[in-house]
């Protein structure tokens, strides 16, 4: 009997993992909110680490920043693959302009979730600084030491984070607008 429940539960878990035409599966939701939390830690952490004067704390904060960044990159890749493997629910909004804007914002968010970690990775590699993610796994260098490349990648990183902040404000603002003003179920649809 218990086995039967277990099998049913397992089946249910598998069923609800995938996205459907109208619903986000739990995997997409989990990845979305996990990424959200990480990004909301990551942005202030990056600015904080950058502002610190050279100290053991600064070096540790940058190890955290790089570790979270690589985690966000992995999750972004996973999400992109999952979008391909699973399906994406239809938009709830009937306004074509808003749909377009939402699509653009999502594309930019994905682009930045890839561009930010990679520009950071290039910065640290070109700066000749080795990195052990979470003090556990060595991150290989993707370029050799190169001061000019380092400055360029750092600048790209900075521009990207400003873009990310702007798009996040739009993304969160739109979600809240849908929830509180338009009173539709877009935000609820992403919750569990």
């Amino acid at each position: 009997m218990i086995d039967l429940y277990k099998t049913a539960a397992k089946k249910e878990l598998m069923m609800t993992m995938r996205n459907t035409e109208n619903h986000w599966g739990w995997l997409s939701k989990l990845l979305h909110w996990l990424t959200a939390v990480l990004i909301l830690i990551q942005i202030p952490l990056g600015y904080y680490a950058e502002e610190l004067k050279l100290s053991p704390l600064k070096l540790d904060m940058f190890v955290w920043h790089k570790s979270l960044g690589m985690l966000i990159l992995s999750l972004a890749i996973l999400r992109l693959l999952w979008r391909i493997a699973s399906t994406v629910p239809k938009p709830l909004d009937n306004n074509p302009l808003q749909q377009r804007l939402a699509q653009l914002a999502h594309a930019l968010l994905y682009g930045l979730m890839v561009a930010l970690p990679i520009s950071g990775w290039i910065t640290t590699s070109a700066a000749n600084i080795p990195t052990k993610l979470f003090w556990l796994v060595e991150l290989p260098a993707i370029t050799g030491p190169d001061e000019a490349l380092k400055s360029m990648a750092a600048e790209v990183h900075e521009v990207c984070v400003i873009m990310l902040i702007i798009i996040l404000i739009a993304h969160i603002g739109a979600a809240l607008r849908h929830h509180f003003i338009l009173r539709d179920s877009i935000l609820k649809r992403m919750w569990f």
Binding site: L54, S55, P56, L59, D60, V63, A127, N128, I129, P130, T131, K132, W135, E138, P145, E147
Partner: protein
């Protein structure tokens, strides 16, 4: 008496000539003095671009390092390590190792027991090195006129107050510094 003094003089001159050790000096263009230290648990490398080695075979070794020539391949780090917390280059631009106690382990391996003065602190240090003649003598029986001197040792940076209190734990920047050298030595005329 006169003859005795003359004899002693001549004999001593003869023996001093016999035992006159060979003088060697480093060739900067083909020498390197590098080190590695852990940075958040992974090694980063540094080098001293300017240093000189003077060696009187089997007797005396003197190494002078221009600390200001340090390079760790990153402009921020290069700037930071010049600070008072680290090398304090403003006040201590030179490090000197001196040994007049060279012990041979075998034909090619030696240990120089001496003092290293670094950042104004002098501590006893043993520098093991291996010595290999690299140029063949032109005529049989002539000693080689160039040699390679290589070795490695581990220095403890806290022994020399390199890295101030907040860095003392060694968690971010390791305490042990892995020093390596490969020096081309040229034979110089004896006096």
């Amino acid at each position: 008496m006169k003859y005795l003094i003359l004899t002693i003089y001549l004999l001593s001159a003869f023996f001093s000539q016999m035992s006159a050790a060979t003088n060697w000096q480093s060739e900067p263009a083909e020498s390197e003095l590098v080190y590695a230290v852990n940075f958040e648990q992974l090694p980063i490398n540094g080098q001293f671009k300017e240093f000189s080695v003077d060696y009187i075979a089997g007797q005396q070794l003197r190494v002078v390092v221009n600390i200001a020539s340090v390079d760790m391949g990153n402009s921020d780090i290069n700037q930071a390590i010049r600070d008072v917390d680290w090398f304090d280059i403003k006040h201590h631009s030179q490090a000197v190792f001196f040994s007049d106690n060279i012990n041979a382990i075998n034909e090619t391996d030696f240990i120089a027991e001496g003092q290293l003065q670094l950042k104004g602190i002098s501590k006893p240090v043993s520098v093991p090195f291996s010595w290999q003649p690299t140029a063949q003598p032109e005529n049989p029986g002539e000693p080689a006129d160039s040699a390679s001197m290589t070795g490695k040792l581990i220095l403890n940076r806290s022994d020399f107050a390199i890295g101030s209190a907040e860095w003392a734990s060694g968690d971010q920047i390791g305490i042990d510094v892995d020093v390596r050298f490969a020096v081309k030595m040229l034979k110089h005329a004896t006096e």
